[in-house]
């Protein structure tokens, strides 16, 4: 276990692993997302209250889940970089930020498009929506801080600190529908006990969740290779890596 952990600190190991994993993640993501989209759009039955508008859940819920999952990954990777001074931790955090920001935009925009026919408005200052918007600002802050410093190491440390402080927002997003009166519906899938969604609707949704995770894995692997190369330009192993 620890040997594996230490291996993750090695730039050539991270680079070659990411290069090997990316096509697998991408292929599996194409299959699972493809199934989720086709089954979710064409075969899942309409909701008895929301009709076909409920199908927005197949892109909204995985987008929202990815926005918080990627943020947590970024904060943990940043913490590893700060505490153990492992450069690869900062590289993972840097690779996560733009991907997470894009999924947060997807969650906010699709939530807004779902809100109009269901709530009668595109936006409300609801706890769930507001905390998700704060998450987008945190991503923008992390991205801006990283590029604000000429010294990349200082940018790494500053953005990792912001990511760690901002992680407090993740449980706030999750429990906002429990702690406060919210327009947003409570958890449907991620809750203790049986999910309150029919199996015919649930399977494509689970497939979309898995597909988005795999897609994140693929894009992370591609970006991570770039991050490693940018940080290790002078290393001897890079000559062999960029030849192929």
């Amino acid at each position: 276990m620890w040997t594996w952990f230490y291996k993750l600190a090695s730039p050539p190991y991270v680079y070659s692993s990411a290069a090997a994993l990316a096509p697998w993640f991408l292929g599996l993501a194409a299959l699972t997302v493809g199934y989720g989209v086709i089954d979710g759009l064409a075969f899942a039955p309409p909701d008895y209250q929301q009709g076909d508008a409920f199908r927005i859940i197949y892109v909204h819920a995985p987008g929202a889940w990815m926005s918080t999952f990627i943020y947590t990954t970024m904060a943990v990777a940043g913490a590893i970089g700060l505490i153990w001074r492992i450069k690869m931790g900062h590289a993972v955090a840097a690779a996560c930020a733009p991907i997470g920001a894009s999924f947060t935009i997807l969650a906010l925009a699709t939530g807004s498009l779902w809100g109009k026919p269901m709530w009668g408005t595109y936006w409300a200052w609801d706890p769930r929506l507001t905390s998700e918007l704060i998450l987008l600002f945190l991503y923008v802050g992390v991205l801006s801080l990283r590029s604000a410093f000429e010294d990349a190491a200082r940018g790494d440390r500053a953005s990792a600190l912001l990511a760690i402080v901002g992680v407090v927002n993740v449980p706030i997003i999750h429990y906002s529908v429990v702690w406060w009166n919210s327009l947003h519906q409570a958890a449907t899938v991620a809750k203790l006990g049986k999910p309150s969604i029919d199996a015919a609707m649930l399977w494509p949704l689970l497939s979309m969740f898995l597909g988005c995770m795999l897609f994140f894995g693929a894009v992370l692997c591609l970006r991570l290779q770039g991050e490693v190369l940018n940080r290790e330009r002078q290393a001897s192993w890079v000559r062999q890596a960029v030849k192929s």
Binding site: D52, A53, R55, L106, Q225, L229, N230, V238
Partner: protein, 61 residues
Amino acid sequence: MTGGGFWEMGGYARYVWPCFALAAVVFAWNLWSARRYLAAARLRARRALAMAASEGDEHQL
């Protein structure tokens, strides 16, 4: 599918389809920008290696 066929989405087409279109854009952008980022990093690394090699040749002369 409720009445009206697949593309009408039971009257919610103008909300459902833009969501899926945006998701496609987000997926495509992520893939494109990650590949572009990696290609740019590879190019920078090659340039740095070439520069280091030419500086080494100058020292030898």
